[in-house]
């Protein structure tokens, strides 16, 4: 097991190294550099050179790469070109904001999706419930998250005017920690949270359904039924034993949520890391964009590792060598 973990960690380092390298070169092969917009405003060439030097963009691309990787090893992501402060300081508050919709969204999506999956999986094969459940999951899964988001905005914010459709709170709302602990924040949270929940329902629904469909023909289900317990209780046994893939899926899903939540944050003007990542790319704020991608790569790699290790704990039949 120890050898397996060591091997996986080495693989993880390699993956992060490759992703970081690709990101580094991807930004630098773009035709315009971050000083371009200043040039349109009349910045002199001397001033441009000063900025390029300050931002570590004046050497050859290999020199820049070596400098960047060296700084990265010491935990220095560089200073944001836009905010003029360390990239990590820029990103940290946004990560907190993103977690407010990512974690509850993922957990509620998993709960609702798996509950629906159990109902659909236990329903008679080929019946209305199964067909409707699969159709629902397919439609939601096929719809891009921005379509779901815009649909929610159109109905619940613009038409019914039940909930606000933008931002994280009223402009006149409270500040500091208290801004998160009041009705105004919860009110603003509803729509983006629903969009994330809906985004996660189909995957959970289909995973759970497959597990239940498989489990319902197992001998132990017959044994449970032979004990004379209610049909709901039998279904619960099938569902509980089908949760293994779901639990292990949750780890990478959390990382994917952070990555995939970009669209939800843009649609609902939510000041999270996803929206900042898009802005950083548009502004050509390399340090912030690279730090965000680096963070995502780390999260996804570690989540996958955690999922594998958890799997072996939950199912003793699985052994890693």
């Amino acid at each position: 097991m120890r050898a397996y973990i060591t091997r996986r960690l080495l693989q993880a380092i390699l993956v992060v190294f490759v992703v970081t390298t690709i990101m580094f070169f991807m930004f630098r092969i773009m035709p315009a550099d971050p000083t371009t917009m200043f040039l349109e405003g009349g910045m002199t060439e001397e001033a441009r050179q000063v900025l390029l030097e300050e931002w570590g963009l004046n050497g050859t691309i290999w020199e820049q790469y070596v400098l960047y990787m060296g700084n990265l090893l010491t935990g220095d992501f560089g200073n944001s070109f836009f905010y003029r402060k360390p990239a990590w300081e820029v990103l940290f508050p946004f990560i907190i904001n993103t977690l407010w919709i990512a974690v509850p969204g993922l957990l509620l999506g998993a709960f609702i999706g798996s509950a629906l999956g159990m109902i659909v999986g236990w329903a008679p094969r080929g019946g209305k419930v199964e067909r409707s459940g699969i159709l629902l999951a397919t439609i939601i899964r096929g719809a891009p998250s921005f379509v779901v988001g815009i649909g929610l905005l159109a109905v619940f914010s613009s038409y019914l005017n039940w909930v606000p459709g933008y931002g994280m709170g009223d402009p006149q709302g409270q500040t500091g920690l208290m801004r998160y602990l009041n009705w105004d924040f919860a009110h603003h949270l509803i729509l983006p949270l629903c969009a994330v929940i809906i985004f996660f329902i189909p995957e959970n629904l289909l995973l759970m359904r497959s597990g239940v469909v498989e489990a319902r023909t197992e001998d132990y289900i017959e044994l449970v039924r032979a004990k004379g317990v209610s049909e709901k209780r039998v279904a619960w046994h099938a569902g509980r034993n089908s949760m293994l893939p779901l639990i292990t899926w949750l780890f990478p899903a959390l990382a994917e949520t952070i990555a995939g939540i970009v669209v939800v944050e843009i649609v609902f003007s939510w000041p999270g890391v996803g929206r900042e990542l898009v802005l950083a790319v548009v502004r050509q704020d390399y340090p912030v964009a690279q730090a965000a991608f680096f963070l995502l790569a780390i999260m996804i790699v570690l989540a996958n590792l955690a999922a594998d290790l958890t799997y072996s704990k939950l199912d003793p039949r699985v052994a890693y060598k």
Partner: protein, 541 residues
């Protein structure tokens, strides 16, 4: 019968031979075909108006026998490659905004038209024109300068290296149930560096904070490093002058100023100004700020401070700017941009002033009409009115909501969260909302912002004056304004200076009317011809 068949066959062959011989003869009179031309324009990331305008214009130009390769280009790539990169392949259609300092025509006259300028993307170089361009920069007497500028436009119009197509109409949408006296800043877009409408507006309800629905965030409150949101910075930090609705500089923190000689500007500051911490604003603060800026040369300020040698204190409220060379644009471009920092908060700072985090250090303090209160990154900026300011608005503060996208701005205007929106919504959308909702009022802002056609003057066919003349004659400015901009633009004037700059525009220039037949005649007279497919050919060499 055989005779008849033979006669018909002979006649047919003869006529055919004659036809092909004539055709061959006429083809011989044609030079090489004018190749398909590349037409670059801002891609959809800048909205649909450029795609639509480029299509409308190219449809009319195609009637001259031209074919086009349409090339939408993402904004920053367009700027780096075409506007400042010198990589214009054939033609480009794009626009420049109605920035306040472009009310001075130096951007149009020098930056994009004179020899050796980085933003001269059409690569036209006329020595006589460039000599005049340099001369007008030093003419601090506005009558003399105007004469030179008019002369330059005549020369430009005779050569037509590029031409303006439309002038942009911007808009303001505001909640008229809550606000009044929202004044029109025309001919400049609603930039925060102006009095109109920001400082003129008056509240009608108890909600005395103006909420401005906007797309983007501000990057810093340090005026030495902010580049994009310079106007918002000027709410906090006073400038020496402001541009008024008439497009002229008017006194602001500077009560008055005069050129004592060609390179010295004596400035008298108002004596009733205080910083937000209560300290009086004096000439010491102004001189400290100017000399510090000259010493450290903040890169983002380079386009406006390059000609300043320093500043000298005369008395508590008087000082002098020392310029390196005479500068006719100083009043409009530098005095409306330069700010005053409180010396008592900056003099002892030993770090990198340009990158100082003024919010973290608690020194986001200027003397402007608004005081910094709060910044929630990517959410909002909250400024409160500096009541002691000589031009304090009649309300208690202003908030800039960084909403990120147009739908959210529309929603905030409709649900009453936001009070005012400016150019961040399509102007047509603002106009529609103003008509649909009783509580929303729309103001049209005709501006000097210009959509123009650039040509690569270094290569044929654009190096031929007659070709350029024909192309301009076939430029459908009215169609571009109506179909490209949905009516929120007006056909541009002649020359290279926008009509909206007032005195600087030479209204004596001969108008070039849109006329396809006249354009074809110009080409024909210049020796161009058309083949049977209608494609344009160069004159025979």
């Amino acid at each position: 019968m055989n005779y008849l068949v033979k006669s018909v066959a002979t006649a047919t062959v003869g006529a055919g031979s004659l036809f092909f011989a004539s055709a061959a003869l006429s083809q011989e009179k044609l030079g090489e075909i004018v190749p398909k031309l590349s037409l670059a324009y801002y891609a959809a990331d800048m909205g649909p108006v450029y795609e639509q305008s480029a299509r409308v214009l190219s449809q009319e130009w195609a009637k001259l026998g031209l074919e086009f390769q349409m090339r939408p280009i993402q904004f920053s790539t367009f700027v780096s490659d075409i506007i400042v990169g010198g990589k214009l392949e054939d033609m480009a259609v794009f626009s420049v905004g109605a920035d306040p300092d472009r009310i001075d025509p130096v951007f149009y006259l020098n930056n994009i038209s004179a020899c050796g300028q980085r933003a001269n993307g059409s690569s036209w170089c006329n020595e006589e024109y460039t000599r005049l361009a340099e001369k007008q920069l030093t003419q601090v007497n506005s009558d003399e300068r105007r004469e030179t500028i008019h002369q330059m436009q005549e020369l430009f119009q005779s050569q037509i290296p590029w031409w303006p197509v439309t002038n942009t109409v911007y808009g303001i949408l505001y909640n008229s149930d809550k606000w009044e006296n929202v004044t029109n800043p025309s001919p400049v877009a609603a930039h925060e560096n102006l009095v109109d409408p920001w400082l003129a507006a008056r509240p009608l309800t108890d909600d005395r904070i103006m909420d401005w629905a906007y797309l983007e965030d501000v990057s810093t409150y340090n005026p030495m490093s902010e580049e994009g949101a310079t106007g918002w910075m000027r709410f906090v930090y006073d400038t020496f002058a402001k541009i008024g609705a008439d497009g002229k500089s008017r006194p602001w923190a500077a009560e008055s100023w005069e050129f004592t000689d060609d390179t010295t500007v004596r400035v008298t500051l108002r004596d009733d100004m205080t910083f937000h911490d209560g300290e009086a604003v004096t000439a010491d603060d102004a001189v400290f700020t100017i000399n510090k800026i000259v010493e450290i040369q903040p890169p983002t300020m380079s386009s406006r401070i390059g000609n300043i040698a320093g500043a000298t204190k005369i008395d508590d409220h008087t000082f002098e700017f020392n310029l390196k060379t005479p500068d006719a644009t100083f009043e409009t471009i530098a005095m409306t941009y330069l700010f005053i920092l409180p010396e008592h908060l900056w003099a002892d700072y030993e770090g990198d002033m340009v990158n100082r985090d003024v919010v973290a250090d608690g020194v986001a303090i200027g003397s402007g009409p608004f005081m910094f209160k709060e910044w929630r990154v990517n959410e909002l900026h909250d400024l409160r009115t500096h009541k002691a300011h000589f031009a304090a608005p009649a309300y208690d503060g202003i908030r800039r909501l960084a909403l990120g996208q147009a739908d959210a701005i529309r929603s905030t205007m409709l649900d009453g969260t936001a009070d005012i929106a400016t150019t961040v919504l399509p102007v047509a959308a603002m106009s529609d909302l103003g008509m649909q909702e009783d509580f929303l009022e729309f103001i049209e802002i005709p501006s000097h912002g210009t959509m123009m056609t650039w040509l690569n003057n270094t290569k044929p066919p654009f190096s031929d004056l007659e070709f350029r003349r024909a192309l301009k004659t076939a430029t459908a400015r009215q169609r571009a304004a109506i179909e490209g901009w949905l009516g929120f633009a007006v056909p541009a004037g002649e020359g290279n200076v926008p009509r909206q700059t007032g005195q600087w525009y030479n209204s004596d220039l001969e108008p070039v009317a849109f006329d396809i037949d006249a354009a074809r005649k110009i080409l024909e007279d210049a020796g161009y011809g058309w083949d049977d497919d209608g494609r344009l050919h160069y004159p025979v060499k």
